[in-house]
Amino acid sequence: MVKLIIDSQSVEAEETWTVLEAARYYGIDIPSLCYYEGLTPTSSCRLCVVEVIRGGRSRLTASCSLPVQEGIEVRTNSERVRKARKMIIELLLASCPNSRTLQCLASKYGVTKIRFRPEDRGCILCGLCVRMCEEQMQAGAIGFVYRGVNREVAMPFHTKHDACRECGACLFICPVCEMPCQGPMQPGQLCNACLDTVQLEAFPCKD
């Protein structure tokens, strides 16, 4: 067992766990989008960032792929983490304004405004579908194409490929291709209808 501190609590974790797994085991909430149990973590959405203090130096790092280490201190709800988390949700909302998952995250973490230029792409490029298809369905029919802002998920050469068995696992796992948020908002705006219904700071942490 590895001993570490998460949000001022001393906890013990299995050696094979990641910080995210350890935190969730103890009921500490860390949001994530590209993490899914059973799939290789890629740490690409950066929503699960936590502040790790090691040897007196603190830095933000994605908790979904960070193995637990003896003696580290993890803060999941510090000012720095909250600021980064809100900004990432805001950035994601700008690229996918109608997603219900993102609208809920916005309410939960207190994002009340999108200050960026919204551009609906309908995909947050979390890569869950790609990993699901390859790792669990053993098909590997879809993958990422292009680079940077043009990145997208596609089949080879944008044609329907034989490797795709139309199993629908990609649809099942996608966090954004669901019914749009039914809140009273315009495209590019926030609904925030459930803003006050969730508790923001389950484990308040002193900075």
Partner: protein
């Protein structure tokens, strides 16, 4: 040529080459670097070779096409040894003169000599040219003596003697200790101590006994070409460094990752590796020491992000060039999940030097925390464009004004950008900052791989920030959200500001976004991507505010914020601007003042350039 099986045989081979060289009483080395190549140095080389043969000098004069000499502004250049005569800007017409007079009789051709910028007197010797005189060329100086496709040239210069010393007189750990004592830091940009990296990789356990050393030659910063020139001009220096490093680390295989935009580098490198294998300096049982090591060349696909270590390794493995999280260091699990050590071209090139002269002597150059020299590519608005190698700790002012000869066209200096897209812009007030890893970091920039872009008053700092963000938008791999989405939004905001739609709130948002990107991005590219924006805001915030509040671009670059008009009092009606205007926006009769139609004007500024009477005004 038979394989060299011992250090004594190498020494014998070296003496044999030097004996043959005695017949040459003069050597002309023509620069074949990227700058001179663009100025048709190949044709000049062929012409010189032909003329030398025609004049019956081929037995006594050696004609060489070498790698980059450094002074690209004056290209094509030639250096004639043993006198060390430096000829600049030679053309095909000068060839017969050079061959007949200088190579044959030793006469000087005055017109081709470099004039002293202070008094105009011609300078004969290369070492006296101010551009070279103030440099400390420990790595670059060898370039002009070496034909990159001839291993003999490198061996004649004392090449591979460091390898002999390392293999036969030193233990692997001693090599690492020596590099540690020398204080060598990674030249790729971040300045991580090389020896620590090597030690970690040596310590790591390779389950199947294979460890790798890699050379990062994926140089993609705009305006930077020092790694290219080093690898293209003197590939054996890098190979020697890699073999020594591999021996120290205990690696058996090496890769050099070169970007595909550098075809000449790749072909020179392949020739060099082939030659080294043939003489037994690569492959099994190197120099009879029992140490096996071989190097392969891997060609990149043209992605800037592949300069990042894990992305580079993914690319060599044949996967998409994307970084991964480094909770487990590449020293333990890198290329093909085996212990891997990656260093930059220039870092490897420093290794033979350290082994040859010892850490004590190496440390004497540079500052306490940054030792040795650093090659910069000095480009932009500077008189002497080229590659400069300076001791660490030299100030930016010395590099730009003493070596670089000051700003082009007598304009005023505004800022210097170091470190490429990850670096920042340093203003005039900080020109006395010494170039070392820590000092540059403290002023909000970084050493980077060594690009140094000089900017004058005609450069808009907001536009420069926009340019770099635009570059990174294309070059980000798009894997993580802060980098992909953050850069896109950053570009939108900067476009808003340069096009006159910006607000002060956006400026604050820009700062906040930059902070989050630095904190949360997955790899070095995203973490440093905001540096150009942060540093320009830090030193030139008034320009940002001018764009937003006064709708004014001081430098006259941002098209949406400027307008051209014609001063009727000064205009003579010469029709020059009217003919030059590509969109026909200028109206007016001959000998009558012209006018610019604002709705048609594309704001290209050609009218301003062609007007001889100063009648065109930019506001």
């Amino acid at each position: 040529m038979a394989k060299i099986k011992s250090p004594a045989m190498l020494e014998e081979y070296r003496n044999e080459i030097l004996r043959k060289r005695k017949y040459y009483f003069r050597t002309i080395s023509l620069c074949g670097g990227p700058g001179c190549h663009a100025q048709h140095c190949d044709e000049i080389y062929e012409a010189v070779k032909k003329a030398v043969e025609e004049n019956g000098l081929s037995e006594n004069v050696e004609v060489k096409k070498t790698g980059c000499h450094g002074f690209c502004e004056m290209g094509p250049i030639a250096v004639i040894q043993p006198e060390g005569i430096f000829y600049k800007k030679i053309s095909l017409d000068d060839v017969s003169d050079i061959v007949n007079r200088t190579l044959g009789k030793g006469e000087l051709i005055k017109e081709l000599l470099y004039p002293d910028p202070e008094n105009g007197k011609p300078i004969t010797k290369e070492s006296r040219v101010p551009f070279y005189a103030k440099q400390k060329r420990l790595l670059m100086s060898m370039n002009e003596y070496i034909d990159p496709c001839k291993i003999e040239d490198y061996i004649a210069q004392g090449g591979y003697s460091a390898l002999c010393k390392a293999l036969f007189e030193m233990e692997p750990m001693e090599i690492i200790e020596e590099v540690d004592k020398a204080g060598l830091r990674g030249r790729g940009g971040a300045g991580f101590p090389t020896a620590s990296k090597w030690r970690a990789c040596r310590k790591a356990i390779a389950r199947d006994g294979i460890k790798y050393v890699l050379c990062n030659a994926d140089e993609g910063d705009p305006g930077a070409y020092m790694d290219r020139s080093l690898l293209e001009g003197n590939p054996h220096l890098v190979l020697e460094g890699m073999i020594i490093g591999a021996y120290g680390i205990g690696a058996t295989e090496g890769y050099i990752y070169v970007r595909h935009e550098y075809p000449l580098t790749v072909s020179n490198l392949l020739v060099a590796i082939d030659q080294a294998r043939k003489v037994g300096l690569l492959g099994k049982n190197i120099l009879g020491s029992g140490f096996d090591f071989d190097i392969k060349v891997s060609i990149g696909g043209g992605a800037f992000v592949c300069g990042e270590s894990t992305a580079l390794m993914a690319s060599i493995e044949g996967r998409i060039g994307e970084p991964r999280v480094k909770h487990i260091h590449t020293a333990e699990k890198g290329l093909f999940n085996r212990p891997t050590n990656l260093n930059n071209v220039e870092t490897w090139a420093n290794v033979p030097l350290i082994i040859n002269q010892g850490a004590g002597k190496y440390r004497k150059v540079g500052t306490k925390t940054s030792t040795g020299t650093k090659i910069f590519s000095l480009v932009g608005s500077v008189n002497n464009t080229g590659l400069v190698e300076v001791p660490m700790g030299m100030t930016l002012r010395e590099i730009i004004f003493d070596i670089g000869g000051g700003v082009k066209g007598g304009r005023t200096f505004k800022a210097v950008q170091t470190g490429g897209p990850s670096g920042g812009c340093i203003p005039e007030s900080l020109l006395d900052t010494p170039v070392d890893f820590d000092a540059l970091y403290d002023v909000g920039s970084m050493m980077g791989s060594g690009g140094m872009i000089v900017m004058d008053e005609t450069t808009c700092m907001v536009d420069i920030a926009r340019y770099f963000v635009d570059f990174l938008c294309d070059e980000s791999c798009g894997k993580c959200v802060p980098c992909r989405e953050g850069l896109k939004q950053m570009l939108y905001i900067l476009e808003d500001i340069t096009e006159g739609r910006g607000t002060l709130e956006q400026l604050e948002l820009l700062k906040e976004l930059a902070g989050v990107m630095r904190d949360t991005s997955l790899c070095g590219l995203g973490q440093t991507a905001a540096n150009p924006v942060l540093s320009t805001i830090r030193y030139f915030e008034d320009e940002y505010v001018d764009h937003i509040k006064k709708m004014k671009c001081r430098a006259g670059v941002c098209k949406a914020l400027i307008a051209f008009s014609i001063n009727a009092k000064k205009c003579t009606g010469c029709m020059r601007c009217r003919k030059a205007c590509p969109v026909g926006a200028i109206k007016g009769k001959k000998k009558e003042p012209h006018t610019i139609q604002a709705e048609k004007c594309e704001k290209c500024g050609i009218c301003l350039e062609v007007c001889e009477y100063g009648a065109v005004v930019r506001k």
